[in-house]
Amino acid sequence: MRVATMPPRYRPRRLKLRDGREVMLRGIVEADAAAIVQAFERLSAESRYYRFMEHKKQLDPAALERGVHPRPGRDFVFVATTPAPGGSDIVGAAQFVRADDRHTKTCEFAITVAEDWRGRGLATKLLASLVRRARRNGYRKMEGLVLAENVPMLALARKLRFAVQPVPEDASVVRVERALL
């Protein structure tokens, strides 16, 4: 039966960061849409550029809709939250989606951490969780595009044993990839 092959739900857990602060790590839910929009609005222009590789005035509604409804077994979105007045703030997000419907064993990832939550190991934890989750979902390879100047992201990818590959005809971006065996 199809349902039986679905990976188990992710149980929310608390993560302790290097500076002693804690965040909650969990899968995204539909109700997170507003918090995602707010998190996007708090990001600097540079962070947005690193994530989307273009200037974005606002999140595209269709993409947001897809983002809060990951296709079970194919896509996954982690959010790291912290209590805030009236609910919680999203301070980090990491996701993977199926890279190509013909190559169903490869997923593409992206990761974003709020500026004032960087340098505390959160991105490392997010990416490590993403790798484990993708492997459990049956993916064999994880890949991502990174701007060549995005030094912190490249360092993180290397730390988690991603290989850095040139992108033909465009030296301004690199592909990071890792087998998930």
């Binding site: 200037h55 595009l145 100047e149 005809e169 301004s172």
Partner: protein, 576 residues
């Protein structure tokens, strides 16, 4: 690593130079003006000033600056002017007053000027009246307290001064109306400085000579901190390379590139060291006038960029000029194209000496030996300069020996030497991206061969090179995105016959009635000429990966579109 390039150095070029011969640029300057006092130094618009006059005028200007309230050592002073005699006077005056020069492109729009003045914290600006209206629009948003305005003819003798200033204002009408309360005229400033008497200040090696702005990947320009030692080192490095045939106080140098640009700036200082006469070309875009000026001189040296060499050769009369005194012609900025180099050699009988540099290296890093025909390489590293090709993990890659897989020898060109900047002004994050263990990561991709030649094949930083000017797609996109009718956009460089590369912008419209012309028109007051999109393409969506990252290389090709009305050709300048 072994300096394998030394074996191919031009005769007489040392492996190492001494960057500490002089304490500072003013120390160097004072030495030169004493030595060559009676010799001609700069020529512009029919007037020549001697080294002694340059010393006197720059001393007055330094004295004037020192007497201004709040102007202490280390304050930044901007200069916004084309090549005029006022430029070297103001430049050396600022440096002698132990202040830092901030060179500003005079064609900047108010938006661009405001950023640079705010970022640098300039308290004073020297500006040619023609651009004063631009300053006026943003002045209150900047830290500038003292405005010194100059008219084009201000350093010409009477009555020529009156005539030139009158013609520019009333006949050519190229001075838009302006009003800045408290602005001081350049001539009045010199008079005040003469009365105030200049007090020499000790300037040290590590003090900042220039905050030299260069485009930034996040869309705004960053100020490269160039110290006195950086500049003196590069003056020596580039000077020893090309000066083999030079004789003191006899060379005539043609300077058509703007002095606000690092290439012209450092090379001018290198020529000053030889007591040369430097002929400042105010408007190299007026090609017939430029060719006429060339005809007046037995010139021996010129610096230029590909676009300029090409335009000169296409100007009637150029091929009939007398090239018998020519010793060195240096091409920098963007790559000099093979057909241009070959044609130049045919017409003038001399090779273009192709050099490579960037603002962050004051700027010279590599150059071909003099009289080397075009070979596709950027040349050998200068004296006291190390280069290294690094992979993404900063490991050094082996030199290319014409065997095996070139890809395995191809990486980012890194350079180390006394000319490498201290960092970006107030910007440790951007500094950390480009400086590592004393190495400057240039962002250019290439290889080093066994003969010591460096060849550039690609760029790591996303830069569009328009006639030698760096254009960052990010800045163009951030401007285009502010248009209400634009939903999404991406800017890329596309090949262009005239300017090497041109800016193309791909737009997803929010307003279906938005036209290409409207986009270009919108950019005019926000982006200086060379940055403006030349091609505009509309698409229904931008090409993206499944997770939503733009596939920039897929923006380059696409439906061939007719070029939009061409913006004014930018004044040629080298890469920085």
């Amino acid at each position: 690593m072994n300096k394998i390039w030394l074996k191919n150095y031009p005769a007489g070029t040392p492996a190492e130079i001494d960057p500490d011969q002089f304490r500072s640029v003013p120390d160097f300057f004072e030495h030169v003006v004493r030595k060559f006092a009676a010799k001609p130094a700069f020529h512009n618009l029919g007037r020549t000033i001697s080294y002694a006059e340059l010393e006197r005028l720059s001393r007055y200007f330094a004295g004037f600056l020192q007497a201004l309230p709040g102007m202490a050592k280390g304050e930044r002073v901007a200069i916004m002017a084309p090549n005029l005699l006022q430029y070297p006077v103001a430049l050396f005056g600022i440096l002698r007053a132990s202040m830092t020069v901030v060179n500003v492109n005079p064609l900047y729009t108010p938006r661009e000027l405001e950023h640079q003045l705010r970022d640098s914290g300039a308290k004073a600006i020297v500006i040619v009246e023609n651009f004063a209206s631009v300053l006026q629009q943003v002045l209150r948003n900047t830290p500038v307290q003292h405005v010194i305005t100059t008219q084009v003819g201000d350093l010409l003798p009477t009555p020529k001064r009156w005539i030139v200033n009158l013609v520019i204002k009333k006949v050519k009408k190229i001075v838009p109306a302006w009003r800045i309360d408290g602005a001081i005229g350049f001539r009045a400033a010199l008079a005040r400085g003469a009365a105030a008497s200049f007090k020499p200040v000790t300037v040290t090696h590590d003090d900042l000579a220039f905050l030299q702005y260069t485009g930034g990947t996040t869309g705004v320009a960053k100020g490269a901190m160039l110290t006195h030692r950086n500049i003196l080192a590069n003056v020596e490095q580039t000077g020893t390379w090309i000066s083999g045939p030079f004789r003191e106080a006899t060379e005539i140098v043609i300077a058509p590139l703007p002095m606000y640009h690092i290439f012209c700036l450092t090379s001018t200082l290198a020529f000053v060291k030889w007591g040369s006469l430097i002929v400042l070309i105010t408007n190299p875009r007026d090609l017939p006038a430029f060719v006429k000026e060339l005809g007046k001189w037995k010139w021996s040296t010129m610096t230029g960029v590909n676009t300029l060499f090409n335009s000169l050769m296409n100007t009637p009369g150029f091929d009939r000029l007398d090239f018998s005194a020519v010793k060195v012609v240096v091409g920098g900025g963007a790559a000099v194209q093979k057909p241009v180099a070959e044609r130049w050699q045919k017409v003038t009988g001399h090779c273009i000496l192709e050099a490579y540099g960037l603002t962050e290296a004051s700027p010279g890093v590599c150059a071909n030996p003099p009289e080397t025909p075009w070979n596709g390489a950027i040349g050998l590293p200068f004296s006291s300069t190390e280069v290294s090709i690094r992979d993404d993990a900063f490991n050094e890659l082996p030199v290319w020996t014409d065997e095996g897989d070139l890809e395995k020898h191809t990486g980012e060109l890194c350079a180390r030497g006394p000319q490498v900047m201290k960092g970006y002004w107030n910007n440790p994050e951007e500094t950390a991206k480009v400086l590592q263990d004393g190495w400057l990561k240039t962002g250019d991709i290439g290889h080093l061969d066994a003969e010591g030649y460096v060849t550039i094949t690609d760029r790591k930083k996303d830069i569009i090179l328009v006639s030698g000017f760096n254009v960052y797609p990010n800045e163009i996109e951030s401007v285009v995105m502010t248009h209400q009718g634009v939903l999404e956009c991406g800017a890329v460089g596309v090949p262009d016959q005239k300017s090497g590369e041109a800016v193309k912008v791909v737009i997803v419209r929010k307003d279906p009635n938005l036209t290409k012309e409207a986009v270009i028109e919108y950019c005019k007051p926000l982006l200086t000429g060379y940055k403006r999109p030349r091609y505009v393409e509309f698409r229904d969506a931008l090409p993206k990966t499944p997770i939503g990252k733009i596939l920039r290389r897929e923006l380059r090709d696409g439906s061939a579109t007719a070029p939009a009305p061409a913006p004014a050709t930018p004044a040629p300048a080298p890469q920085a």
